[in-house]
């Protein structure tokens, strides 16, 4: 029981990380109609900024994360103005390739700016842990779980209640109609990219202490987030986030109870088979194609 609880807690923590990355992917997908394969590398870049500031300045980590958020606003806007603004007339496949090109730029520019050596980023709350029911959880993990939940809830409230959220939902349902109704869709797009960048940075900072900060930091997170988007369906905002937690639980259970070598691969095979039998996700709606 203790082990199971331990696994569950660990899954909730990584679920928060996946959920943030998935939210970043989905908000960009819904407002820009493009699958952002660069989500992981954007988060990785943001994490590198936080880590570099932390190492060189010696300021407290929380302040460095705040600087990372500000930098994220800058990078997100830059991506939006330099690239995304000019992609409106490009086909879906072309947009996909553009995000792959952006991914290459982020992966290339990171070692140029921050060097090729792996960096270390400590936990936000360095010490202390709580134990109950035979499971241990560090304060940092607890913070990550609560922070993830809180951030997602704030995002959902913002999407449902605020004016900006309404604009995002309108753009997501039909961009042209939204434009005709006077919604500044360009601002919505800009906001989506900034949010994606900041969420990516948060996800990176949360996962960084468990490993080292390298260009591969977010590879598995990005894939997990995509898997969550598949299970949750690309059509809703909540689906992928809810699915993130299930993906985390599923993959941890597979790795622990089935095989620590093949668990991950089994998960990916399940995903592919799932796509075969249910191509639009659990919460997704089937879109009828016209000739």
């Amino acid at each position: 029981m203790g082990t199971f609880l331990q696994l569950l807690l660990r899954s909730l923590e990584s679920g928060s990380v996946y959920g943030m990355a998935a939210m970043g992917i989905i908000i960009v997908y819904r407002t820009n109609f493009m699958v952002n394969f660069a989500q992981g590398s954007m988060g990785m870049f943001g994490t590198f900024i936080v880590t570099a500031v932390f190492i060189h300045s010696g300021w407290p980590l929380a302040l460095c994360i705040l600087i990372g958020v500000l930098a994220g606003i800058g990078v997100g806007s830059l991506v939006n103005f330099a690239v995304i603004r000019h992609t409106k007339k490009i086909s879906a496949a072309g947009k996909e390739i553009i995000t792959l090109g952006m991914m290459m730029i982020f992966l290339g520019i990171t070692p140029m700016l921050f060097g090729t050596d792996p960096l270390r980023l400590p936990k936000l709350i360095p010490t202390g842990s709580l134990s109950f029911g035979g499971a241990d959880i560090s304060y940092n993990s607890l913070f990550n779980i609560i922070f993830g939940f809180a951030l997602m809830i704030i995002m959902f409230i913002m999407l449902q209640k605020s004016k900006l959220g309404l604009a995002i939902r309108a753009t997501a349902s039909n961009e042209n109609t939204a434009k005709l109704m006077g919604i500044p869709t360009k601002t919505v797009t800009l906001f989506a990219w900034i949010v994606a960048m900041i969420l990516g940075t948060f996800a990176g900072v949360m996962i960084a202490p468990t490993t080292s900060v390298t260009t591969e930091l977010m590879d598995s997170v990005q894939l997990a987030a995509f898997i969550a988007c598949i299970f949750g369906g690309f059509q809703t905002f909540y689906g992928p986030v809810v699915a993130s937690y299930f993906v985390a639980i599923g993959s941890n259970l597979l790795i622990y109870y089935v095989s620590d070598i093949w668990g991950q691969q089994i998960l990916y095979i399940i995903v592919i088979l799932f796509l075969f039998f249910r191509p639009v996700g659990i919460f997704g709606k089937k879109v009828t194609k016209k000739v």
Partner: protein, 352 residues
Amino acid sequence: MEKKRPAVKGFSNKQYIGFIIFGLCLCLIPVLVKMGVLKTSFLNIIGGSIIYTIAALGLNILLGYAGSSSLGTAGFMGLGAYISAYMSADLGLPWELSLIIATVIPTLIGILVGVLSLKMSGLYLGIATLCVAEIFRKTFSQFTQVTGGFAGKSASFPVLFGTIKLKQTGTFVLLIVFMVLAMMLTYNLVHGQLGRALHAIRSSETAAQAMGVSLRKYRLVAFALASGYGAMAGSLYVHFVRFVYPSTWNLLLSLNILAMIVIGGMRSIYGTFIGAIIVYAVPDLILKRIPVVGSYNGFAYVFSGVLVILVIMFSRGGIAGMISGLVSKRKARPAETAAAAGTDDSSGAGTE
């Protein structure tokens, strides 16, 4: 298909000669290296470009003609490389046999992925192939009995027919032979029934099906070709570089191969080679000489990434499309038709 052959025979013969002359020109590189005009490292760089050209030709059929994106190219290349290394080094099979096995097994897996892909569209397919590549990559590092894990695996230069031991130069020529063969095969395939069917599928799957084009058959063929070319390239890689690590076959390599066909020109055979040279050789040969920026490792990726974005935004035909546009001096046509026509024009332009 057989009936239509004679009509295009004369033309394709001319194309064949073009490919062969192109291959012979590349064969001059080892000669120039021997004479001391070029550095030995040049051989490695161009050899690498040739290997990636073969893999990219396969992806070009899948992405350029069939319109299905795949992010799994690196995985299939790696699979081919590991199977080939295992067969020839551990089991002691002759090089030819290991090459065939290393091509056939991944092709079968590619067909399987193709079957699964039939129900998926666009973005889901990209993610599914990403999962496939990740399965391979994880397996390469963890299935240590065969792959040697993180320590890597070594192989030797090919031994032809059990007697002729090749050195680096010989293997380089062998690579050229394989590339020319791959180019001929690709040319033949895409200018026949397959090419036309794939064009139809790319424009509209539903319309193509309504006209009697079997989506299942041609998607599977495209997937089989993409994975088969990739695996063959991987097998050639391991016998040319003689060493293989699991970390080589990551997403970045798949992205690089994608960049090659986007930059060089989708649906263009010579364009694929140009793209491979730009993405793989230019960073090594030219960009590294640029002061300050050039000394950084990541600059090559930034360079290709920026090029990819620019090509998608401004010229869908890639460099081959631009060349053919200059040659034919035709004024702005819709991007799609220019790209589709780009194959013939650019292949003519490339040989000059």
